[in-house]
């Protein structure tokens, strides 16, 4: 409880480790479960007569924690570890380039593969923080098409490969709105019709877009509006209207928790996290797809990765159709390869059909917006300052 409330109040100005602190887990090579790697090491040490031994190859994979990281762990970290014999250590973070920049600039790189947002992957690449992708190393599609043609346009960048589509949506707790239910993005900002506190991610990204869409800006003009001073003012004015009722979150695992605790009645969230709470915990959450913001999650290798060979092998494994489809059996994120779309099936643990829950399913994407990573990678520093200034007002 302490940690949870601490996170809710976490300052906007510093980013601390996500829930559970700088949590790191290990997926030991050749072992499918989570039986202690320490025990294994001890055993090996005994067998070799206590002499120091060269450890098996390993790499550090940094991801977003919570149910998403667990899904990836089952879908491809563990299969990779058991097939290749390379140990995958898992760390959590909450996005951003700061930690990678610090590692690269001080020459003390200890992350190998990172799961990041598109805008960060492009910026990190431009700044030389990431290894360029070797397109030749990407496996062909399920139908044998070469990788370059199989990936949806725009999901491959110079240093990153999109492995899934995810979207930021808002969800509400059905128990709080038994009668009239929210159905549009405008409803999220309507405190009169739908009273209660709102959860939002403590960043300007996504919130600005939501605010403009809710204020009536047509989908195709949202980013055009953000390019103007009036548009920015309009977005902040809209955010102002609910400012006192916002509870800020930072880690993707927080919104489902906040909705369940009743701390908020609705919250922006990553769609997969809400889905997992729905099917695995039977939470009465409802996703509102209207105004969803679609983005691709990128996998990148950090420049100067200490385990480059292992990282490359892992990277190739993770970007196969098989891995992408496997992730979609644990959490509702859809493949970025065209040959993977047809293979979307059911949720492995509950047998729920995944198609209606994917962000790219036409009904869900109908009133959605594609996240403009180029605009954000240019304006993130300035927008952060505006956002902080607004928070302080």
């Amino acid at each position: 409880m302490l940690l949870q409330s601490q996170l809710h109040g976490w300052s906007p100005l510093v980013r601390f480790p996500g829930p559970g602190g700088q949590c790191s887990r290990t997926v030991p090579a050749g072992m499918s479960g989570r039986t202690g790697p320490a025990a294994l090491l001890l055993l090996l040490a005994l067998l070799t007569g206590g002499r120091p031994l060269a450890l098996a190859e390993s790499l550090t994979m940094v991801s977003w924690g919570g149910s998403y990281a667990r899904a990836c762990e089952k879908a491809f970290y563990e299969p990779f570890a058991s097939e290749s014999g390379i140990e995958v250590r898992v760390e959590d973070y909450n996005g951003g380039l700061a930690q990678i920049r610090a590692q690269v600039e001080t020459g003390n790189v200890h992350w190998d593969v990172v799961d990041m947002e598109m805008a960060d992957a492009v910026r990190g690449c431009d700044e030389g923080l990431l290894e360029p992708v070797d397109l030749g190393a990407l496996a062909p599609g399920a139908d044998g098409k070469p990788a370059e043609e199989d990936f949806y346009p725009g999901s491959l960048t110079e240093c990153g490969v999109g492995t899934l589509f995810y979207s930021t949506i808002y969800a509400y707790n059905l128990e709080r709105f038994p009668g009239n239910r929210p159905s549009t993005i405008a409803d999220f900002f309507d405190l009169e019709k739908f009273p209660g506190r709102r959860g939002m991610r403590r960043t300007p990204q996504v919130n600005m877009e939501f605010a403009l869409m809710a204020d009536g800006v047509p989908l195709d003009q949202v980013y055009a509006a953000l390019r103007t001073q009036e548009g920015l003012n309009r977005a902040f004015r809209k955010l102002d209207s609910i400012k006192d009722h916002i509870v800020w979150w930072e880690a993707g695992a927080q919104p489902p928790q906040m909705l369940a605790d009743g701390e908020v009645t609705m919250s922006t969230a990553y769609n997969g996290r809400i889905f997992n709470a729905q099917v695995l915990e039977n939470q009465p959450f409802v996703i509102v797809w209207d105004g969803q913001l679609l983005d691709t999650g990128q996998l990148v290798i950090v420049a100067g990765s200490p385990n480059l060979e292992a990282a490359r092998k892992f990277f190739s494994f993770a970007t196969t159709v098989r891995s992408m489809v496997a992730v979609g059996r644990y959490i509702s994120y859809s493949p970025t390869r065209q040959s993977g779309t047809a293979l979307i099936s059911t949720h492995l643990e509950t047998g729920v059909d995944m198609k209606p829950h994917m962000p790219t399913t036409p009904e869900n994407a109908a009133r959605g917006l594609q996240y403009d990573w180029e605009w954000w990678s240019d304006h993130i520093d300035e927008m952060n300052l505006r956002f902080i200034a607004w928070l302080l007002r």
Partner: protein, 390 residues
């Protein structure tokens, strides 16, 4: 000679671990050679540019050549980030242009080719921004730290209201520090008096009660306040249990300014109590009795006899608490929420998140200057030699 040798290890230690980094950081606040080193020829040509019309072909050609070279040396991203700090939006103009120009045949006119790639190349603002980002020594960071900026044509302007952050924060930091200092004085003075005038065994116990929290980790003390003050915390639970507040109307006492002030006052209290105690200990209780025997009421005696003698302690404690409060970081970061942030959290933001170390250094420099100024004023008013720290 001998004293000098004896302090030499300490002096060397301080020089290496404190003075040198401080100077390096202060240097960063005015000095950034990154862009100047990467685009020497372009900047040389821009020096003779009139600044009114779009620069000539030669400037474009040199710029393209030097940008392509920077790209090969993997410094382009860092250059683009710095230019982008002067004018947001130029990062992608630089990156995109280089991406397109790389590998392509050299065009007949670089100027036309680049303007065709992005119309921003045809705006004088862009070139002003590049010229400013290329200044080896600059006061830009200090201007930004004071919510000001250079106008493209020269001269200094204030930032638009929605980008003013640092001055309001600085004002807030000063006000909060002052408030905390007063609170500490109000709370600490009676305690120090009690300890100074208690019989020895009780004084020791009381002093221990002040010292134990003082020795306890800052993080532990701050997180204890979270346990106490949060909405589902001990105090709210108690209030709700005895029915003073309704269960759905619990008071928010943390993640706002209240949390910052409460936790910081607690953390800084020993810094007030200890100097006060050490001064009060030396004031013979007989003085007060003497004043009383001469007919002074307790208040009179206190005001005219006791209080003036404790002034060095008051001054020392207040100065210590105030200076510590002004630069405080961890506590507001943990319990300040969004309304309880202080200027130091902004320094941390620029150190860790935006990685604009120049600006972080400038903010730190301004704080340092402020503390020095305070010290000088204090020295004038009270005299540092009268101060007693213990």
């Amino acid at each position: 000679m001998r004293p000098a040798v004896l302090v030499l290890p300490l002096a060397a230690f301080i020089l290496v671990t404190f003075v040198a980094p401080l100077l390096v950081m202060l240097g960063r606040s005015v000095h950034d050679p990154m862009v100047a080193d990467a685009l020497p020829e372009t900047l040389g040509l821009l020096r003779s540019w009139d600044g009114k019309r779009v620069p000539p072909e030669a400037v474009f050609e040199t710029m393209a050549r030097e940008l392509l070279k920077a790209r090969r040396e993997k410094s382009l991203g860092r250059i683009a980030t710095r230019v982008n700090r002067v004018q947001a939006g130029l990062r992608s103009v630089l990156m995109k242009s280089v991406r397109r120009l790389r590998g392509a045949q050299p065009p007949d006119s670089w100027r036309e080719a680049m303007i065709a790639l992005d119309p921003k190349w045809g705006q004088t603002r862009t070139w002003h921004a590049i010229r400013r980002a290329g200044e080896r020594f600059t006061l830009r960071h200090y201007l930004h730290a004071l919510d000001m900026d250079q106008a493209p044509g020269g001269g200094i302007i204030r930032q638009p209201p929605d980008l003013r952050i640092y001055l309001p924060l600085l004002r807030r930091t000063l006000a909060v520090s002052l408030g905390i200092t007063l609170l500490c004085l109000l709370l600490g003075y009676p305690i120090a008096y009690l300890i100074a005038n208690a019989p020895p065994h009780r004084a020791n116990l009381l002093l221990l009660l002040v010292l134990v929290p003082f020795w306890t980790s800052l993080l532990v003390r701050t997180t204890s306040w979270i346990v106490l003050l949060q909405t589902q915390g001990v105090i709210n639970d108690l209030l709700a249990a005895v029915g003073l507040i309704a269960d759905d109307q619990r008071i928010s006492m943390i993640y706002n300014m209240t949390g910052t002030v409460v936790a910081m006052t607690h953390v800084l209290l020993p810094f007030m109590v200890l100097p006060l105690f050490s001064v009060m200990r030396t004031i013979p209780p007989l003085y007060m009795s003497a004043a009383a025997s001469l007919g002074a009421s307790f208040l009179q005696a206190f005001r005219r006899v006791y209080w003036p003698q404790t002034l060095p302690g008051v001054a020392a404690g207040s100065l210590l608490v105030f200076i510590l409060a002004i630069g405080y970081y961890i506590t507001p970061a943990l319990v300040g929420g969004q309304s309880g942030q202080l200027i130091s959290n902004m320094v941390a933001y620029h150190m860790q998140q935006s990685l604009n170390w120049g600006l972080a250094a400038a903010l730190g420099g301004i704080l340092l200057g402020g503390v020095f100024l305070l010290y000088l004023v204090f020295n004038r008013l009270v005299g540092v030699d009268r101060m007693r720290l213990g």
